[in-house]
Amino acid sequence: MTAPSTSLKAAPLISHWVGFESGRVQIRSGKVEIGQGIGHALMRIAAEELEVPMEIIDLVQGRTAETPNELWSSASISVEVGGLAVRQACTHARALALAEGARLQNVHPEDAGVADCGRGTADMAALYDAVAPSLDLDVPVDPALSPKPRSDYSVLPEKTVPHDLRDRLTGKPGAFLQDFTLPGMLHARVLHPPCTAGVLLQCDETALAALPCVRHVVRDESFVALVAETEHDAIRAAQAASAHVSWDTPDLPEGADLPALLKDLPAERRRILTRGDAVTSVDVELCVTRPFLAHASVGLSTAVARPDDKGMTVWTQSQGVYPTRDEIARTLGIASEDLRLIHVPGAGCYGHNGADDVALDAALCARAVGAPVRVSWTRTQEMTSAPLGSGMMVDVGASLAQGRITGWTHKVRSLTHLTRPGWGDGINLLSAWRLGDPHAASDIEDPGQVPFGGGGDRNAIPLYAVPNIQVTYDMIKAQPVRTSALRSLGAHANVFAIESLMDECALSVGADPVAFRLAHLEDPRARAVLRCAADMASWDDRSSGGDGIGWGIGLGRYKNKAAYFAVALRLEADAALHVTNVHCAVDCGLPVDPDGVRNQIEGGIIQALSWTLKEETVLRPDGLSARGWDTYSIINWDELPSKLEVKIMDAENNPALGVGECTMGPVAGAVGNAIRNALGVRLTAMPLTPQKLLEALA
């Protein structure tokens, strides 16, 4: 028996998840679509488990008071936990429907499935329709009922077109939140200081109100928004506003020397793992860094709010409608029940971006003007006001004897990776800090989820078997800039450090990097993905490197408990660093939506290449270096690999695991290792740029 989904705790009844009405099937989920394809995966789970065509399923996701409270769609657990809940609820609903069908037809329940109710999808749909009036789904989901084994899947082909793809591609109104409109809706832009700690020094409200396109000026201490009839007017108003406001902005600390910046900020040391004897000396060591990174979604953070007699409805792209509802309600001073949050997909979301903040912005504007208001941030606000992925520094070292690792140390230093709404007792919404009656943010506290790593310590513990090991996390509580969750949190830098060190260890004992890893790997699934990626790349036949062409390998298991991922890649180093071939293997247990898995893995690899080779935003006294696409480069089309091959391991008897974040660290490691192989130098400071390579070669 599979363990019950933890999502069933807050929503234990079948009826919380599944309903049958008017010949259709309703599926309700607290996990929301953020570009990761969870909606389609949930549809596939329900269709297969209930044995109905996808076309009759209506999926509702992320609506307070209507869908289960599953907190956030984050940490790659939407399929693992949210999908499991839907699966278990559907399994039970199907069993009850068959029993009720048998009762109505007066046949023995054991015959119900083979009697008139039949086995085909049309028949099951007819069965649900027939039994719906008398079927009681207000019963707790029984997780002891076994879902269908993979071998019995009969409804869906391996690849299905996502149900909402056409709408997204062709501009159906409201398919994206950015295109969602309500009758009488106004548009607003909020004025932000150049850095998040700024306060409003002077604001000429009369001049702002006199701007030709402004309908209302909403002002509450340092919160200023300009409301206009159209989006175009709101944009023009915000552009003209800068002449009439000034901000008091504290200097940011200088961040060009990232290790110096991080060491200057006081940190609290946590022991993540101490095992075996103290490691007092190491033979190989590296200090790696990862810069501050921006989410840089192509869409602007957006929300629509509409006041009503009792409270407010907010349409949002938040990853967690319940936690964000509660914090907005507290900020507005209204009861949570009087505030409704409805999720509508926005552009791709890779972690805690401005989505929650802008939901409060819209609520504040709508309350002030008494009409529906849509608020979007600006491109500059996306880059400078949304939380960043934290800059990180990782010192790793290993001692070796007889060709094996005997001791391992890993010291990671980072700002927090978790300041989401719902995290702690404060209010983690930007504009709440700026009001005349301000609310403080929560105390900084990355969760201690040893050994999984809840924040900067995510994946700080290596997968490899080493007898003596010390892992510590120096968590910086200061927030010179706002930081929070960005895809994979600390895993990007931690796995980069681990995989770089593994290669250096292998080189120091003259071992092949893959063989050396295998010699230190006990977990059979980790061994299998590593072998598979190496085989896909014909690892043993690769050139020896050193002539500007190199191969690198990287391995990780996300959070040390989720999907396994291994990648072998080929890199050419000349004036540019170009990854030309990527071969990878993923073990995510049962792949619910194989093409969706491939899509996530491909996207994760490309974004990881972009982070690792190109991206950074640097703290400077006068603000962040990245203020738009012109100052924040991401991977371009001519920099893509010409070959990218994904193999999904045959592991379908294991529970389904999410794949959204498993690629980030291993890809970074493999790139660093490929550069080392190509030219014999170890780059340790991401982004790994041609300029740093030239300096290292000089």
Binding site: I34, L169, Q178, V298
Partner: protein, 141 residues
């Protein structure tokens, strides 16, 4: 007053901002997206007189008599849309309508060879759907 056609329909307007806001704000055509408003992301791309342009950078005063095409003007079974559906060439999909118009313009001009360079100069996909986008685009170019 500017007179132009949008997807074959005559439009007369006194609006004098960028084409993007005419489409989204006045004509309720939402396929073209606002990603930056600065000419750097391509989410707002539409076709004007046969050329793919960034509509956030295209002022109305420049469009007297122009023929504007957006994704809404493509037939539902247009091979470009079909190819992107077939390849599931999207993650969030926010960047795609703009890319669809760039690909459509290249196809109509018979300039498939310019695909990479055109995407390089004009389009950002943050989700990393690039490999699928290229595959889909190449099936129609």
């Amino acid at each position: 007053m500017t007179a132009l056609t949008v997807n074959g329909m005559a439009v007369e307007t006194t609006f004098d901002g960028p084409l993007l806001h005419l489409l989204r704000g006045e004509l309720d055509l939402f396929a073209a997206k606002l990603g930056c408003g600065e000419g750097n992301c391509g989410a707002c791309t539409v076709i004007v007189n046969g050329q793919a342009v960034q509509s956030c950078q295209t002022p109305l005063w420049d469009l007297e008599g122009a023929e504007v095409r957006t994704v809404e003007g493509l037939r539902a079974d247009d091979p470009v849309i079909a190819a992107f559906m077939e390849e599931n060439a999207a993650q969030c999909g926010f960047c795609i309508p703009g890319i669809l118009m760039t690909v459509t313009a290249l196809r109509d001009q018979g300039k498939g060879g310019d695909l990479l360079q055109t995407l390089d100069e004009r389009h950002i996909c943050r989700c990393g759907a690039h490999m699928r986008i290229l595959r889909a685009a190449r099936t129609v170019l």
